[in-house]
């Protein structure tokens, strides 16, 4: 339980909260919404991970191919799409939720991708 919320936590065996890191601010947090915990426990949703590098690559790819700059949080989902798409049929339908815009992350993108201003 952290900050009044009972959910999954990144913690050690003594219950001390683990330090975290993510290139995206919104995911740089040791817990997650109780709804997600519930969706996981009931088997309604599957949870996967993407690295900072995969995320930045995904954000860049989407921006370059579609002109959509996703929030870095959302880019984690785009990274998963990139991983899964090659194993799918052209007729399969994939929906990815771009939960936020990446205007706020342009600074991070420039820094990490070393794009000259």
């Amino acid at each position: 339980m952290l900050q009044g919320t009972y959910s999954y936590l990144l913690q050690d065996a003594q219950g001390q909260i683990a330090p975290t890191h993510s290139v995206s601010a919104g995911l740089d947090y040791p817990s997650l919404g109780p709804e997600h915990a519930w969706l996981h426990d009931t088997g309604r949703a599957e949870y996967v991970a993407a690295s900072d590098a995969e995320t930045l690559e995904a954000a860049t790819l989407l921006a370059r191919t579609e002109g959509i700059i996703p929030a870095l949080e959302s880019a984690h989902a785009v990274a998963e799409v990139i991983k899964r798409a090659p194993k799918m049929k052209k007729s399969d339908v994939v929906i990815v939720s771009i939960s936020g815009r990446g205007d706020k992350d342009v600074g991070i993108l420039r820094e990490n991708l070393k794009i000259d201003s």
Partner: protein
């Protein structure tokens, strides 16, 4: 073992266990008891002490650097109990370390260590069902916090779930010493008196003998935390002696012998 206050006001001392080391905490606690503390709150350091100000935050960091854990605090507590038969001992912790250990296991170990009760900082009464069942089953007193912002109905619920004493928080905000106690403190104790017969301990912000005496006029016990923790911080190498001196100065202000037993 009943939580007993041997004088009015009783004195409750909080320490962050493991700062600077568990061995030193043992000495500090024994010195505080010798100097007049009726109850000791054995603080378990937690990575995210949201209710604590800078003094206890720093102590927590130092304790965690040593790897101080709930398990170790319980072991230390049992040792202290061996040497202090008539002092109230309470485990003071945030909820997560207790959840990680398991509420049932925590209660079992705490009871075996001879603890009188526990105070879980961030566990509201509304969410305490499982905890209360386990505490009662193991004959441990659950202590809860009442705040000046708690409405009367909630104070009633808090008092109803409490055993041993009710911890009235003197003001909103985090732990830490203040120059003046607010009127909130007096008002809160008055409101609590209407809903409980348990002793009422007042804490947060108390550091001087004058404040101790003032609070003693309307509360049954006074909790001193940050002031003690800061005394430890400022007296590296002679922590126990310094705490003993500090506690003695506080508790000799109102020598009114009285036993408020529970």
């Amino acid at each position: 073992m009943p939580l007993t206050f041997y004088k009015k006001p009783g004195l409750i001392v909080y320490v962050t266990c493991g700062d600077p080391s568990l061995a030193t905490t043992r000495e500090i606690v024994l010195a505080a008891i010798e100097a007049g503390a009726d109850v000791i709150e054995l603080g378990v350091p937690f990575s995210d002490p949201v209710a604590d100000g800078p003094v206890i935050q720093r102590a927590t960091e130092r304790a965690l650097k040593q790897g101080t854990s709930l398990g170790q605090v319980l072991t230390l507590a049992a040792e202290i109990r061996q040497e202090a038969q008539s002092t109230g001992l309470i485990i003071f912790s945030y909820l997560n370390p207790i959840l990680r250990m398991g509420i049932e296991k925590f209660c079992k170990v705490a009871r075996a260590a001879g603890m009188d009760g526990a105070l879980v900082t961030d566990l509201p009464v509304e969410e305490a069902g499982e905890y209360l069942r386990a505490m009662h089953q193991h004959d441990l007193a659950p202590v809860f916090l009442a705040a000046p912002t708690s409405p009367d109905e909630r104070l009633r619920r808090i008092a109803g779930a409490s055993r041993g004493f009710v911890y009235a928080v003197s003001r909103t905000g985090v732990t830490g010493q203040r120059q003046q106690l607010t009127e909130d403190a007096r008002k809160l104790v008055k409101r609590l008196r209407r809903v409980t017969k348990l002793p009422i301990a007042l804490g947060f912000g108390i550091s001087t003998a004058e404040q101790f005496a003032e609070v003693g006029e309307f509360a049954d016990a006074v909790v001193v935390g940050s002031a003690v923790v800061e005394t430890v911080e400022r007296n590296s190498g002679r922590e126990a002696a310094a705490v003993g001196e500090f506690v003695r100065k506080l508790s000799t202000v109102s020598p009114q012998p009285s036993a408020i037993a529970q």
